[in-house]
């Protein structure tokens, strides 16, 4: 019996990972943006594989159609010359490799520490036809569909219920969501400040 979903997952995930590595390795900046396009499209394909059509489509629309086009415009129009090559020094490679592996470790530890994940694809989707049946969860308290996560970001209690005193509460993700939003705002303001036109101090000769 064929188990198509893992096969497709490994295919798409390895292609996406290769494209992501090529983003870092390639020396031409516009080609790096192109490989980033394939990486984001691969992520969108993973969403489709999970049966999350809306999220996959939003990924395509927002990232590929919006953010990446903006990125490519900026890259193309602000490069000092056509086809400049970026040479990365050995020290930069070393530091970025260390930081990258540390980050990968943090992500892996936090992903695998989610106990007994009962993620399942939505009813009637393509992914459900090929998903192993014994892992689907019927309990909405344990279900981790993206709609439930979205509700958690808005402050609705999701996840398993636990007692606190004599109240039953569920966790929500409102605070991390707000922190990430403020963080993003700080990053945007910082980038705008760094990219400002600097006033020249000397008089014109």
């Amino acid at each position: 019996m064929v188990n198509l979903q893992p096969f497709l997952f490994w295919l798409i995930a390895s292609a996406t990972a290769l494209c992501a590595i090529t983003v870092v390795v390639t020396q031409n900046i516009v080609r790096a943006a192109t490989w980033l396009l394939f990486t984001l499209a691969g992520t969108s394909a993973i969403f489709f594989l999970l049966g999350a059509d809306l999220v996959g489509v939003t990924q395509l629309l927002v990232y590929v159609g919006g953010t990446l086009v903006l990125l490519v415009f900026g890259v193309m129009l602000t490069a000092q010359g056509p086809f400049i090559t970026m040479k990365t020094g050995a020290a930069e490679w070393a530091i970025s490799a260390v930081v990258g592996f540390l980050f990968l470790g943090v992500l892996a530890v936090s992903a695998f520490s989610v106990k007994d994940s009962k993620i399942g694809p939505p009813q009637g989707s393509i992914a459900e036809k090929f998903a192993p049946k014994e892992r689907l969860s019927k309990d909405p308290a344990n279900a981790q569909y993206s709609a439930v996560i979205g509700q958690g970001f808005l402050g609705v209690g999701v996840g398993p219920a636990h007692q606190a005193g004599n109240k039953v509460i569920r966790t929500n993700y409102l605070l991390p969501f707000e922190i990430v939003s403020v963080h993003l705002l700080v990053v945007l303001i910082g980038a705008a400040y760094l990219a400002r036109a600097k006033r020249r101090r000397r008089t014109a000769s």
Partner: protein, 420 residues
């Protein structure tokens, strides 16, 4: 030996899973490319007729049916030239990204009730998102050619396509609000009701075009935005045949150019498909009280539906061509101004208007309005046809003098009196 057998069994089971999707993909890409061939022939004929000449008449009989086939053969055997200054990888990659973005949109486009490659609940959103990845192909085509004409054309085109996506998406939202779903099959089904009184049968006034004044306006606005996002005239600055040599595809010849144009005609058909499903009732003929499957059975009924749908899409493609050869080209600042200063506010007003209309007005008005609007439009069409016949049957030189006639200019020998 058992290992080989296991591999064989695995391959067979993979084949059992992928054979239907492969067949659908094959049918879709065949249809898309044959439709592109037909559209190129139609374009040349329409261009010829509007310019008072005949168009292709030699290849394949009296009407030049096989002209596009001959063109395609020529393009296939043309020399593949890549300029030395081009970025070779991106130059090769660009047309394929554009073609992929245009083709994947067909996966969610239904041709009939259930005649669709993948029935998605977010079908219209999916099509819009995938067609927005075509922009990236255009950017790579323009940049990777290594020439300034291509770069200018590519930048203009990318700015135009990205800007026009916003009013296009808002205009798509207008019928989505009325229908309550993004499922394209559901759209066609909701514009048809086969039970109840005569007013609610599967007739033309159920189409969303006539549903309220805001969807009526949204159809024309959507069609304008769709023409701009397909980079068709009057928004074809990117190709700009008389300005930028050939715009973003200057350095492309042979099969690569063919890929770019198949992508363009494919997305023209896709946006026409969205327009006919959202506003024109999809595959419904509009004059029969029931779906053809009720009269002719499953296969032939669906065949009629598919033919009607393709006919509607080709009619809209014909309208795009008609507009192309009639109107002069807009400058790039006029293009951006049209989008940002006119179409975007208009579509926002339509969005608010359609929500208020459907929320606040009583149901009698909502039920009566489509019939009134349909009657008005039918009257307008009848008057227009009558006037066209009057003009066409006038003797030559009278009737419609045309823009180059020098009637009333003293001293011009060719001036003739009109009937006025």
């Amino acid at each position: 030996m058992e290992f080989l057998l296991a591999i064989w069994n695995w391959l067979v089971s993979v084949w059992i899973v992928v054979r239907w999707p492969l067949l659908f993909a094959f049918l879709l890409i065949t249809f898309m490319l044959v439709s592109a061939i037909f559209s190129v022939w139609l374009e040349r004929k329409v261009a010829g007729r509007i310019q008072d000449r005949l168009g292709p008449t030699r290849v394949g009989g009296k009407f030049g049916w096989l002209q596009t086939l001959a063109d395609g053969l020529k393009l296939l055997v043309k020399e593949d030239i890549i300029p030395t200054q081009a970025d070779h990888f991106l130059f090769r990659l660009g047309p394929y990204i554009a073609l992929t973005g245009s083709f994947v949109a067909f996966l969610a486009l239904p041709y009939g009730n259930g005649v669709v490659a993948t029935e998605m609940n977010v079908a219209v959103f999916f099509m819009l998102a995938v067609m927005s990845t075509e922009v990236f192909g255009i950017i790579l085509i323009g940049y990777g050619s290594g020439s300034k004409w291509s770069l200018f054309g590519g930048m203009r085109e990318a700015a135009q396509m990205v800007s026009y996506e916003v009013p296009m998406a808002i205009c798509v939202l207008v019928p989505v609000i009325v229908a309550g779903s993004m499922n394209l099959i559901g759209f066609a089904q909701v514009q048809e009701t086969t039970a109840g009184t005569l007013a609610s049968r599967s007739l033309m006034w159920n189409w969303y075009l006539f549903h309220d004044p805001f969807t009526f306006a949204a159809f024309w606005t959507y069609f304008t935005c769709a023409t701009a996002s397909c980079k068709r005239a009057p928004f074809d600055l990117a190709e700009a045949e008389s300005e930028l040599v050939a715009g973003f595809h200057t350095e492309y010849s042979g099969f690569r150019w063919l890929s770019i144009f198949m992508a363009e005609y494919g997305s023209m058909f896709a946006v026409s498909g969205i327009a006919s499903l959202l506003f024109l009732g999809g595959w419904h003929i509009g004059v029969l009280p029931d779906d053809p499957t009720a009269y002719l059975g499953g296969f032939f009924g669906n065949l009629i539906n598919v033919i009607v749908f393709i006919g509607k899409c080709w009619t809209l493609v014909f309208v795009m061509m008609w507009v192309r050869w009639t109107l002069p080209r807009l400058r790039i600042d006029q293009v951006m101004m049209t989008c940002l200063k006119y179409l975007l506010p208009i579509s926002c007003v339509l969005l608010v208007g359609v929500s208020l209309w459907n929320m606040l007005l009583p149901t009698e008005v909502l039920a009566l309005f489509p019939i009134v609007l349909f009657a008005l439009c039918a009257l307008l069409v009848v008057l227009l046809i009558k006037q066209l016949i009057t003009w066409a049957s006038a003797p030559p030189g009278t009737g419609m003098p045309g823009m180059w006639s020098m009637v009333g200019v003293t001293g011009y020998q060719g001036a003739r009196k009109t009937h006025s």
